[in-house]
Symmetry: C2
Subunit: 289 residues, 2 copies
């Protein structure tokens, strides 16, 4: 089964648990609306790639972990899109959850997806409870306070931002969760896999900065985009476009170099290379998630 089909099946299975009768119909519908159709599913793809590289000794648990990580990512998008944050009208080509279902159900959709993520890991952990518990712990740390994506969002309410902590929490955390959880689901320790996730996360952040700058050149006829207008820190404003591309390439090379010795090392390096190709800009407008 290709990874994308495995991820979709695990997500569908998790969503069905959240929709079991008797459920309030609109909230049940909104859970699926927020998760499907998805974006690139890059975080669960990394998670399963690491699990496979480590031997994938409990495929059910690894698939559940991948679904859980994507559920958390989708929950964060639903809450980030709320009027109190970005007030976004459109996400993945359709109205955001609060535009389609109203704000109360959007808050509850995010909450329910977060909880469903933990439910999914716990339910799949019967055969390896210690692994599942460690997966729960990692997922919580990389999602909540003080080091997870909630913290990353929380930094934006501070008058002075700790930039390293901000970037690692906001963008890096779920990529680190991806590599750590992939290893743990397969029975390997998490720690040797942290750097791979951190490096991919940094590359992703730089690629996002580049997209922001280059898309604006193309669509707005201006040399720089939202990051500058909103005073956000950006690799492009700091290092220029060429400097940022160098940083992106260096991070991805560092990511490949950091892969621990394991049975599937070569295939995993190939996955990172493909991610690099997707991320590296070769034209003014970069399509993506």
């Amino acid at each position: 089964m290709p990874l994308s089909a495995r991820i979709d099946a695990a997500l569908q299975s998790a969503i069905r648990v959240g929709q079991a009768d008797p459920a309030p119909a609109k909230l049940a519908e909104a859970l699926a609306y927020a998760v499907t159709p998805g974006g690139a599913r890059i975080r669960p793809t990394i998670l399963l790639s690491v699990a496979l590289a480590c031997g994938d000794s409990d495929p059910g648990l690894a698939s559940a972990a991948a679904a859980a990580l994507e559920l958390i990512h989708c929950a964060s998008l639903v809450h980030d899109d709320l009027p109190a944050f970005d007030d976004a009208p459109i996400r993945r080509g359709k109205p955001t959850v609060h535009r389609a279902y109203g704000e109360p159900l959007a808050v509850l959709t995010g909450d329910s997806l977060i909880i469903l993520a933990f439910d999914t890991v716990a339910t799949a952990g019967a055969e390896n409870p210690a692994r599942a518990l460690e997966l729960t712990r990692i997922l919580a740390r990389r999602t909540g306070m003080p080091f997870g994506i909630c913290a990353g969002q929380g930094w934006e309410s501070e008058p002075r931002i700790d930039l390293a902590a901000y970037h690692q929490a906001k963008t890096g955390a779920l990529f680190m969760a991806a590599t750590e959880m992939g290893a743990v689901a397969a029975g390997e320790p998490a720690e040797p896999w942290v750097e791979l996730g951190a490096r991919i996360g940094e590359a992703f952040q730089v690629a996002d900065d580049l997209r922001d700058a280059l898309e604006s050149e193309a669509t707005l006829g201006k040399p720089v985009g939202q990051d500058v207008r909103l005073g956000r820190p950006s690799a492009v404003t700091e290092f220029g476009v060429e400097g940022a591309i160098d940083r992106l390439k260096n991070n991805l090379a560092g990511a490949i170099a950091s892969i621990p010795s394991c049975p599937g090392e070569a295939a995993l390096a190939e996955m990172v290379r493909k991610t690099a190709e997707r991320l590296t800009p070769v034209r003014p407008t970069i399509p993506g998630e």
Copy 2:
């Protein structure tokens, strides 16, 4: 140590984990603001009472489970108070989290407390991973969709409400979690303890209906309160005040009768009797949580 001190210590310890450096300061502060000083802490008190009745063989895990359950309850209050729901200005005698910290941080506080709850159980589960994983599963089911408090809130967006499902999810779920989790933390199966939680939850719901009706008589000079004005289902509108008090007493008697045979059966029955005294109205205005 009295139960209240044990609960406070476990909550303080959990909150400190969420506030570890480097954390965004306002969100870190808001976590503590939302949790302390607390209300009656009735759910964690029930949880620990059941754990003690069952022998309390892993006190650290039971305390963590009690803290986790209260964190979830506090998170639900923060999100329920948001402008999109009740738009409440005051909670427990001070401004609600969104009034004190703004709406973005209130959303993030609720999210972070939910995640911290799962983190707390996972971190305390090293010695008994299977128990901790079962606690995680119960907490998720009683909190999220389709049977938990998120579902309870979600029913309020439906044109037609399944009343039994609504009450059990909205009020009953966390009481059922309390008795189930108390048993599981002590190494006992959850199922025999479901009825006790369900009965206490129903009693709590009836007591809440009574308070709503009787407080209105005293303060508004009207025989009925918000439930009638908002068209909410209520035991008082259905059965009258005396009928509702009978239901409350029957539910608590049923709760005591349902207690499974266990070493601490007598002490647990006493705890339920005390809860009954707190809940049963003996005067027009009942102070409470």
